[in-house]
Amino acid sequence: MLEDIKEKFIEDLKSAQSLSDLNNLRVQYIGRKGIITSQLKSLSSLSPAERPLAGKIINDIKLLIENEIASKELIHKEAELKNQLLSEYIDITLPGKYTAPGCEHPLNKILLEVIDIFVRMGFSVEEGPEVELDFYNFEALNIPKEHPARDMQDTFYVSDDIVLRTHTSPVQIRGMKKRKPPVRFIAPGKVYRCDADISHTPMFHQLEGLMVDKDVTFSNLKGVLITFIHLMFGHETPVRFRPSFFPFTEPSAEVDMGCILCNSVGCRVCKGSGWLEILGAGMVHPVVLENVGYDPEQYNGFAFGMGIERIAMLKYQIDDIRLFYENDIRFLRQF
């Protein structure tokens, strides 16, 4: 009799297709009015001696039924969950929602990189006006009126004695005037010259550096600038110093680095020479030191300057300087 129930249950379980089928099965067998429940109730008609054994058999079957239903339920639940999740699939290839971060302007990106290198070498950052007195832009830098060196720079004038600074060098004067040596600073910023073509814009960026102390040598100048070029362009970059002329340095030097585009073999950018002009530099002219009240017999130093556009053009292989100032986002988004 009990064996029949068990077999019947196993048959029924096989045909149960859903969670509700299983639930019906549970009610049918072990619910309050279920087959097994009524069997348990009928135990009371047996003699006390028979009850334990019969009870155990029925309880075993009840346990089996409970377990079987529970395990099959679990399988169904998992399958159902899986189905539900499947129906919740979304297109993961659609783009995410976010505020796309803006892009840095390549000139400022390079400028910050250069500043960072010099700050690591112990230089602080100094500023000066962009609309500047002729005195600071020229005269204090040993470029008197009517000096042919003024031809090197086409100047925008605001009045006879006020100019748009043609270089960051006037910051040297202002920076030294307000301190006593030792002095070690860089001065990045915008400068202006009336010139416009594929390689010149009327405004561009320079970075000036100055170090004044006792016993500063030309060797030190070489050390600092070679370190800078190596950190900026790689440690294998060849560097050469050659004599040049700036009214505010003596000796003056032009610093070339091996062409990074052709590996110094010679190309269009380096005009076949294998070298690229990258920096102007020199030992601070004694007249400049005198102009700011420093004693050139006691102190000396070096100064250098570089064009940020040029470095950015070389680094990113940009061939037209005007791109920097169009602010076309197709260009800006590349940086």
């Binding site: 602080s124 962009e130 600073f185 814009t201 076309d328």
Partner: protein, 705 residues
């Protein structure tokens, strides 16, 4: 300057190849910018620096190579057999400060004709057109020795004399003088310009250009050749005033060799006799201001301490001597007299450069400075703080989707008109550039907005949509005379202020996630995010009256009581003037004074302890007049006297539907928390009720059912 390699070898026996020689010139300071290979010669383009007028000639560069290679130098042939006696001819220098020396010779019965082929060719290679043998010879000597000469037709000189002086000296103050120059122009001369005169008129502009009436012509027989030293500054002033630059003025204004002029004159007449025949007459040489070289003392020890070298005394002497410097050795130093062609050498540092040049910059050792750590001056400390705050603002804008633009600092008057700025607006006090490249670039910017509008137009024209740009740059306003303790010279300069400006434009295209946020709130969010990044909390927005902004969709931005800028939508009247195809485009802009802003950011932060106790929140909706600004609710909640209100924010604003015309519903959330205990619901109920009543009372609003 163009130099022929074949010509160069007339003065120095060079074994090295043209490539090696051009490399050498570059490394001693005369950069060879280009090398042109011709069939039978090499032409080098040499960039001679403005301090080295002595190298503006083939002989001058040969002299440098001779010093560098240690190869002897050969001066060109300039001695001739006999002079045909002295003529009655007078030279009178009236302004000896402007003309230190003037020499001349007369050559009679020359035959004007073409120059020999070799000379024509050499001149052409160096970029000078052949005219006739006499003119060509003066040009040839100019290229060869770097000294400008001038030939006059003797028959046109009235009164057998040459006078050198300014109109002021010759004619007196304020008398108009015109000079007819070779190019046919009749030029009015400045009172102080040095001219050459005959007995009657001005016949040439000294050192700049000869006169038309006295020039050598095809039928000229007798000539007077001038070789002089003119004051560089005077020549430069004249050349600049006339806008006239010649091979001659270029050299005179850089300084010519006062000793060379005699040899150059002889070299020229030597060549004239050889290629034009004629008799040479005696030289007239007036030299009122004798050149004395400066005496410079150079300490041996300074050479090494300056360059970081260990040169011996002998080495120092050797390098100085090879450059033709006159030397007297002393125990610790050397007394140096530079030659007349090296007027650029004035101090010991100039001599140190010469030694470094001859030694070779590349051989100087590389050594990092052993520098003391720079003291931290207060000046720089504030600058560093400001720069850090500036960087934080920049990063905040980048993070919020703005791409960085960099524009020229210029603007045009029409840019200010576009913004409809009132006459008294300080942005009208712009710095004007006297010589702009374009009329649209006549002023320095006083606002960054016009440049950013142009960037937007450029981008739209190139099919770029969805634009958010910002720029950090200086603006230039008025002058600094209002500042206290300012240097009177500096007071004339404009007040330079660092600004940040942003612009947002979105083309209303279909987007995937349908964001309908008004552009005003986009730009406001960008500005608020910046305040958060600087930890500035006391900011506020008040309706703006900027003439170029939409009056209903713009705000002035304040930090405590200081106005630092504005945000808002460009007014339709501004947009209608822009070249835009889009229908009613919406452009949001913002501009803030970064100097003021970053000054606000420097407050020290102090930590507020965290409460360990739970919070209770209450949501409430109220109905208000639609003119009431929502920020009032937050302001009232903050102002309400209770320590338990931790936070308040608005989460919904609704108009229309069940809300009657002219009203709006605002829903807000208040969060309560105590620092020292767990709040009870009943306690919060009472507090919240009285807060809401306070808000309703202040706003004349109603509770939304």
């Amino acid at each position: 300057m163009r130099i022929s390699f074949e010509w160069l070898k007339d003065y120095i026996k060079l074994e090295a190849s043209p490539q090696e020689v051009s490399e050498r010139l570059t490394m001693i300071g005369h950069e060879v910018e280009a090398v042109e290979e011709l069939a039978d010669d090499i032409v080098m383009e040499v960039n001679v620096t403005p301090n080295r007028s002595d190298c503006l000639s083939i002989f001058g560069l040969a002299r440098e190579l001779s010093a560098s290679y240690g190869i002897p130098l050969k001066f060109p042939e300039h001695q001739f057999a006999a002079e045909s006696g002295q003529l009655d001819f007078n030279i009178d220098i009236l302004d000896p400060d402007l003309c230190n020396r003037y020499a001349g010779r007369i050559v009679k019965n020359v035959e004007i004709g073409p120059s020999p082929e070799w000379m024509k060719k050499r001149l052409e290679k160096c970029g000078i057109r052949s005219i006739n043998n006499i003119v060509d010879i003066t040009n040839y000597v100019l290229l060869e020795l770097g000294h400008p000469l001038h030939a006059f037709d003797l028959r046109t000189l009235k009164g057998n004399c040459i006078r050198i002086g300014t109109p002021k000296t010759v004619k007196g103050n304020g008398i108009a003088v015109k000079t007819k120059t070779l190019d046919g122009a009749e030029r009015p001369m400045h009172d102080d310009s040095l001219l050459i005169w005959d007995a009657e008129d001005s016949i040439a502009i000294a050192g700049v250009m000869g006169g038309l009436d006295t020039e050598v012509k095809s039928d000229t027989k007798d000539i007077f050749i001038e070789s002089a030293y003119f004051d560089p500054i005077s020549i430069r002033k004249t050349s600049k005033a006339l806008g006239l630059k010649t091979e001659s003025s270029y050299r005179f204004e850089r300084g010519s060799d006062i000793k060379m002029l005699k040899k150059a004159l002889d070299r020229a007449v030597f060549l004239m006799k050889k290629y034009g025949g004629g008799q040479i007459y005696g030289k007239i040489d007036i030299y009122p201001k004798i050149f004395y070289p400066p005496e410079i003392n150079l300490k041996y020890e300074k050479v090494n301490s300056f360059l970081g070298l260990k040169l011996s005394r002998e080495d120092v002497i050797k390098y100085l001597k090879c450059l033709g410097l006159e030397i007297e050795e002393m125990p610790d130093y050397v007394k140096v007299k530079p030659p007349s062609f090296r007027r650029d050498i004035r101090r010991d540092s100039d001599l140190i450069e010469e030694i470094a040049r001859m030694y070779g910059y590349d051989r100087i050792p590389i050594d990092l400075p052993k520098a003391s750590i720079c003291f931290d001056d207060p000046e720089n400390k504030t600058l560093t703080q400001r720069n850090k705050a500036k960087d934080a603002v920049r990063i905040s804008f980048l993070k919020n989707g703005c791409t960085e633009a960099v524009n020229f600092s210029f603007m045009g008057g029409e840019d200010l008109d576009l913004l409809m700025l009132a006459d008294g607006d300080e942005r009208r006090k712009a710095t004007k550039v006297m010589n702009p490249l374009r009329i649209e670039d006549s002023y320095m910017r006083t606002t960054l907005i016009p440049s950013l509008i142009k960037n937007i137009l450029h981008n739209i024209a190139h099919g770029n949509k969805d634009l958010r740009l910002f720029e950090i740059s200086k603006v230039f306003i008025g002058n600094k005379s209002f500042m206290e303790n300012i240097d009177p010279q500096d007071a004339k300069l404009p007040d330079e202020r660092l600004h940040i400006a942003a612009i947002c434009y979105t083309e209303k295209a279909k987007t995937l996630y349908g964001d309908t946020t008004h552009e005003f709130y986009l730009i406001k969010g960008i500005v608020e995010a910046e305040f958060k990044s600087l930890k500035i909390n006391n900011y506020s927005f008040k309706r703006s009256s900027e003439p170029f902004l939409h009056p209903g969709q713009s705000a002035d931005v304040f930090v405590s009581d200081t106005k630092i800028g504005f945000i808002g939508m460009l007014a339709p009247s501004v947009i209608s003037k822009l070249d835009m195809k889009a229908f009613k485009p919406q452009i949001a802009v913002a501009e803030l004074n970064l100097d003021t802003l970053t000054a606000c950011a420097s407050q020290a932060l102090v930590y507020v302890p965290l409460s360990r106790f739970p919070y209770i929140e209450r949501d409430t909706a109220v109905i208000l007049d639609s003119s009431v600004e929502s920020s009032l609710i937050i302001k009232l909640a903050r102002a309400y006297p209770s320590d338990l209100i931790e936070d308040a924010y608005i989460f919904d604003v609704y108009q229309g539907g069940s809300i009657s015309e002219g009203k709006k519903s605002i829903a807000f959330n208040i969060r309560y928390r105590a620092a020292d205990r767990t709040l009870k619901d009943e306690e919060v109920d009472i507090l919240h009720k009285s807060l809401v009543e306070f808000i309703l009372h202040q706003t004349k609003g109603l509770l939304r059912a």
